[in-house]
């Protein structure tokens, strides 16, 4: 049993203090007011008649003290917030949040990918983790454990809210985070791992022990926020296995779906489910030992997409970008940091080509602002936000104008700084002065956002690409636990989590009511 409330030492001190106060009060209460009476024989007869002839009468005062101490003990025990460990506790979770530079890119007008990841993780902590905290790992250049499972949930939420994007574009952070998660899974086989990232898990080296516990949520995609979390396979006493499928729904509207258990890929049991916004539920199935190896799960959502745990990890579509050899390092860094972009070596393979305009510099005698045109960003408010603190140096080399070009960035005097030619593939020509040492453009935090918009000429996902974006954004691999039932035996039995502190408080309330009744009946004092 672990405690997640006040420290045991504080609880012990509190209990000692409370018992001392109760005992003192009890003794003081027993030290009754002295009254001189003519004779005790009448009172003795009363005592003999009403109190002393029963066991309750003899235990009247000790029972009062005992009940009060029990009540105080229950309340202090509830303050400890005890949680059963092992098979009786809630499932421990490891939440990995990617904080690399690409997570700072906006996923809509109001939030970035990291903000979405924070919101999802916050909801997950609130709903799935129960009273215990989760192991929170932030990934940038390296993996950093921000909160341990034993830490209070409030601390985990605090660290989660403090997460910010870093300038790191790559590194061994995710690899280290997965290694840490694997270590935790080895310590506690029921541990689930949730990774919130905008990087594809295709190239990850996920060990066999980690794969059944891993759920990856791509926060870069416009997902409808339905996720299948790693299921659990639990052996039962009668030799069968319980197959628990967890669904989490982060959408804003209720959704209906059908959970289908596949036997060797063929549909078997189906279960229609309905999930309210922000709900996470588990669905139990029971199978024999001979069936458990061939099980898989598919969730068909009526209005959205299909999740199939047998599907391969999603290969997200990346925009191929061609950069010239002499591309400035800042531009190369921005492209390589975004997992949605893939740099190619030839223009023929690219979805978009980037060129630099090395024209004669035009001296302006000072810093000039960079204007974002409506062609690049139709939203005026967002455009103004982008233009904040974007300045160029004194020597500006504008892009030569052309009749077919669409001006995306310009100077204050309407000299183009970035234009797009609707060739095949589209070509985006950028002014070299944007990446001069004297320019502030590429140094500002909104630079990756603007460059992402420059390299994405349509400004949004194409409509015909819908099915690709509705491809499984969350997957689970059941191959290990289902193909090896013996391994499932190592999983401890899982019980529905009962908030122990809440139960203790209910017990204390019932005890208090019993004391009140006993007091009214004169059984206690």
């Amino acid at each position: 049993m672990t405690f997640h409330g006040i420290s045991p030492a504080a609880a012990l001190a509190l209990a000692l203090g409370t018992v001392s106060v109760l005992t003192a009060a009890h003794l003081l209460h027993r030290r009754y007011r002295r009254v001189v009476v003519p004779a005790l024989r009448f009172w003795s007869a009363a005592l003999k008649k009403h109190r002393q002839d029963t066991l309750g009468g003899r235990l009247r005062h000790p029972l009062t003290w005992l009940l009060l101490c029990t009540l105080a003990g229950l309340l202090i025990f509830a303050m400890l917030q005890p949680v059963f460990s092992g098979g009786w506790g809630p499932r421990p979770w490891v939440v990995v949040v990617d904080c690399r530079a690409s997570m700072g890119l906006p996923c809509d007008a109001a939030s970035s990918r990291l903000m979405r990841a924070q919101a999802l993780a916050r909801d997950f902590l609130s709903r799935a983790a129960g009273p215990v905290g989760v192991t929170l790992i932030a990934v940038d250049r390296t993996a950093t454990v921000l909160a341990h499972a034993g830490d209070p949930k409030a601390e985990s939420l605090h660290h989660l809210a403090q997460l910010t994007c870093t300038e790191q574009t790559d590194g061994r952070g995710m690899e280290q985070a997965l290694t840490l998660a694997e270590t935790l899974v080895r310590c506690e086989p029921r541990t689930g791992v949730l990774v919130l990232t905008d990087h594809s898990p295709a190239g990850w080296d996920v060990s066999a022990s980690l794969r059944p516990c891993l759920a990856v949520l791509n926060v870069a995609e416009p997902v409808d926020n339905l996720a299948v979390l790693p299921p659990e396979v639990t052996p039962l006493a009668d030799g069968t296995y319980r197959f628990v499928v967890w669904l989490a729904h982060w959408g804003s509207e209720p959704c209906r779906a059908t959970v289908t258990v596949l036997h060797d890929g063929k549909p078997g049991e189906t279960l229609p489910v309905s999930l309210a916004p922000g709900q996470m539920r588990s669905y139990d199935f029971t199978f024999g030992a001979d069936q458990i190896a061939s099980l898989s799960v598919r969730v068909d959502r009526e209005e959205a997409y299909t999740l199939d745990n047998q599907a391969a990890p999603p290969a997200w579509q990346r925009r191929r970008v061609f950069l010239p050899e002499d591309a400035p390092p800042a531009l190369e860094a921005v492209v390589s940091a975004n997992p949605a972009h893939q740099r190619v070596t030839t223009a023929a393979q690219a979805d978009v080509c980037v060129s630099l305009a090395q024209t004669q510099a035009v001296g302006s005698g000072g810093y000039g602002s960079v204007q974002v045109t409506a062609a690049l960003c139709p939203d005026e408010d967002l455009r103004r936000a982008w233009m904040t603190d974007l300045f160029l140096g004194s020597n500006v080399s504008p892009v030569p104008e052309s009749g077919h070009a669409v001006v995306l960035l310009s100077t204050a005097d309407a000299q183009p700084l970035a234009v797009r030619f609707d060739t095949a593939p589209p070509t985006v020509t950028l002014s070299a002065s944007l990446f001069d040492e004297g320019a502030t453009f590429w140094k500002q935090p909104q630079c990756p956002v603007i460059l992402d918009a420059l390299l994405n000429p349509d400004g949004s996902r194409p409509d015909d690409a819908g099915p690709s974006y509705r491809s499984p954004t969350c997957y689970s691999d059941l191959t290990l636990s289902t193909q090896n039932p013996q391994a499932a035996r190592t999983l401890p039995p899982v019980r529905t989590h009962v908030p122990l502190a809440q139960g203790i408080l209910w017990a204390a309330l019932i005890l208090a009511l019993c004391e009140l009744v006993l007091y009214c009946r004169g059984r206690i004092v």
Partner: protein
């Protein structure tokens, strides 16, 4: 002053009717049931050897030649021992109770003295304060003596009643004003009353604070005389049980006393004096 003039005026009409049958022949104020030496002629009786020759009726001898002696109603002086209990148990729950007892005893003494009886003040537990008053003229001294009696101490009623049985003559009356709460068992008080029989009246002054004590909550009860303690929480049920035990005790005491041909009277201390005296003298006659 225990009694004011108005109260004394109200007590004056009360008369005393002694219940004893005295044997010793001596002139007194009250007419005896026996015939003997007195002032009023009662009957003739044949002369017997040993009769006083002075009482021979010589006129009757001359008429029929037989020696007869005159017999007269015997008059006696009644001595009433007023045994007052002013022990600690009388003063614990109601501080006014000792004064009420003193007023009652003073009223009794007033009536007794003004009806020609002798009064022996017999404060229980204080033998040195025992006083004897023989005439109505000594009422003031009797009043002062009663008023100055100390309150407190341990009730030694049983011992003193036994001592009274041995020491006093058989024609002395005994009036006991007490709560009869002694260390003895219930029979202790009444065991010594058998010899006194009709010559004894026991008065129990009861006050409302004893009948229904205004006590509640956790209390350590201390017995006034023995200092014994008992802790309990007093509630309505306990009070009811107390009252049952209280009534059972005094009802049993009344039965035992009346079985001994003694009289038991209960007087409410909270009542005014005239009402207390009405309960003792229903028809204006003190049946002591």
């Amino acid at each position: 002053m225990l009694l004011d003039e108005h109260e004394l005026h109200g007590l004056a009409p009360l008369r005393l009717r002694p219940l004893m049958r005295p044997r010793r022949q001596s002139p007194a104020d009250f007419s005896s049931h026996d015939k003997g030496l007195g002032l009023e002629f009662a009957d003739y009786q044949l002369f017997q050897p040993g009769d006083d020759i002075r009482h021979v009726d010589w006129t009757h001898f001359h008429k029929d030649g037989r020696l007869v002696v005159r017999k007269y109603d015997q008059h006696e002086t009644v001595a009433i021992h007023l045994m007052m209990d002013l022990s600690a148990s009388m003063a614990c729950l109601d501080e006014e109770k000792p004064r009420a007892v003193k007023r009652l005893c003073a009223a009794l003494a007033f009536c007794l003295l003004h009806n020609g009886a002798k009064v022996v003040l017999h404060p229980v537990g204080h033998p040195s304060l025992r006083r004897r008053f023989s005439a109505a003229t000594q009422w003031e001294a009797c009043h002062v003596a009663i008023e100055e009696l100390p309150v407190g101490g341990v009730l030694t009623l049983v011992d003193e009643v036994r001592q009274f049985c041995y020491a006093c003559s058989r024609r002395d009356h005994l009036v006991v004003v007490s709560d009869f709460l002694t260390d003895h068992e219930d029979a202790g008080v009444t065991s010594c009353l058998a010899d006194l029989s009709h010559r004894t009246v026991l008065i129990h002054p009861a006050c409302a604070a004893e009948v229904e004590p205004a006590l509640e909550g956790g209390l350590t009860l201390v017995e006034a005389e023995s200092a014994g303690t008992a802790s309990l929480t007093v509630d309505r049920q306990v009070i009811t049980a107390y009252q049952q035990a209280y009534r059972q005790y005094y009802d049993g005491l009344r039965r035992d006393i009346e079985r001994c041909a003694c009289r038991y009277l209960e007087v409410a201390c909270d009542d005014p004096l005239h009402r207390q005296m009405e309960s003792l003298a229903p028809n204006g006659v003190l049946n002591l």
